[in-house]
Each structure stands twice: as C-alpha cells, then as structure tokens.
Symmetry: C2
Subunit: 114 residues, 2 copies
Amino acid sequence: MAKITKTECTSNLKNVIDALYVLNGKWKLPIVLSLVDAPKRFNEIMREVEGISPKILAQELKHLEQNELVVRNVYDTTPVSIVYEASLYSETLKEVLRTLSEWGAGHRKKITGK
Amino acid sequence: MAKITKTECTSNLKNVIDALYVLNGKWKLPIVLSLVDAPKRFNEIMREVEGISPKILAQELKHLEQNELVVRNVYDTTPVSIVYEASLYSETLKEVLRTLSEWGAGHRKKITGK
DNA sequence: GATAGTAGTTACCCAAAGGAAAGTAGTTAC
DNA sequence: GTAACTACTTTCCTTTGGGTAACTACTATC
C-alpha cells in the first residue's frame, strides 16, 4: 500500500466502519444479491434466501430500504402485491461485492483447500 | 451488473459470506488498518484503536493470526517485546478495504450529508 | 365454512459479541 | 518496597442478533 498520512488512515478507518455498519449481519448482502438477480415478493425472497425467518427478513428489508439499497413497490391489485427490488443506487455496491467475493474465494483456498 | 447465471450468483454469495465471516465484527478491519500503517505492540494498538478493551484486542489478534493476516513476533529482549505486524498476505485486502472505504464515504454523503 | 396464500407482527428464548473492571506475572525505575 | 509498565486473562454483565412459533388481517379457492 502506498505511503499514506495519519489523517488519511483515520478517515479510511471511519469509512470502512460506516460501510460495515450498513452491510453487517448474516443476511443483508444475501438479500441484496437475491434482488439484484431479479425483483421479488416477500415470500419469494423467503424461499430463495434459505434459512431466513420472516421476522429477520422484514427487519432487514426495512434497514435496506432506509439505506436506499432496496425499493419497496406496492401495487394496488386485489390483494395488494408488494415487490421488492434492488435500487439503481445498489449498483454502487457492485465493486464492493466483487472485491469481497474475490477475496473470500482466494482466502478459502489459502486457509482450507491450499 | 452484467447478466450472470444462477450458479455464479450462488457462488458469489458463498464467497461474500466467507469473506464477511473472517472480517466480521467491530474491530478486525480497524486493527488490520492500524497494523498496515506500521507494526505495533499490544498497548500501542490499544491506544490507536480507540475504545477497544484488552480482552477483545487479544481475541481479535488471535483470530487474525489464525487467518494469517497478522504476524506475532516475539523478541527475546528483557523483558520480551511482542510486536504485531500486518502480514504480506494482508495486502490482498487492499482492494477490499479501498472499495469499502470509498463506498462508505459516498454512502455517508448520500444518507446524511446530501 | 375450511384451507391456503398474501405480508407481515408479536412474544419468547438463546447464544454470541462486546464492555468494565480486576487480576496476574514478570520487569524496571524510584 | 512501592509504583508503573508489559501483555495479557478472568469474571461478570449487558446488548445485539437471530431463531421458533404463533398470530393477524385480508383474499381466494374448494
């Protein structure tokens, strides 16, 4: 890593902590990945993201909506259908997800597979 | 995001989960960032990473050592000095830290600062 | 009228993460 | 001998994350 100043390092740190605050937890990135694939309804997400409970899914969707990563669309059909989709903004996560995925794959090889 | 297959998506997901498993928690990346800056002793890290308790620091250093991100050097002086440093391998995190930092900075602006 | 599906909410519980404070064992300085 | 510094460990406690199961309110189908 190129030489950096103390101030740069501290602000890096703060940025990383902020990013992790938003993306932290077992389910947030899996949900986003599922919705990036295609918009889905509540029970469809439940079926795709295996193991998640309705309580946690509702909670995480709210968190992701607040952070503008997911959009909740309500359609006035009978009964109403509610469709969640990854926001345009969520595409800014693309690079983060890519580097994390690459690192995770490489690291698994290093620690277990060799 | 370019069109991807279901299989690619699932393996992405697994990789990301694996990466987060290693990097998860409040302190791991802050500690790595601190050591990337310069090798340090236990109490030096304590002072730089504000708010961390000795219990947590000892625990996280062990975890990071197991994952080969941090090296623990023992020097046979009197008294022994123990110096922790970021491993060469930890440089593979560079890209991850950079994208996370950039995203965190941009996201903070979006959600709070405007 | 019973069953199933929609999108959740509620209450209760457990386990892991993390914080606070004190202790330990050794060395060094005063 | 007392205080301070090293690198931790131990104990206790609280908070948070997450799981289970039941329940709600509505609609559609048999």
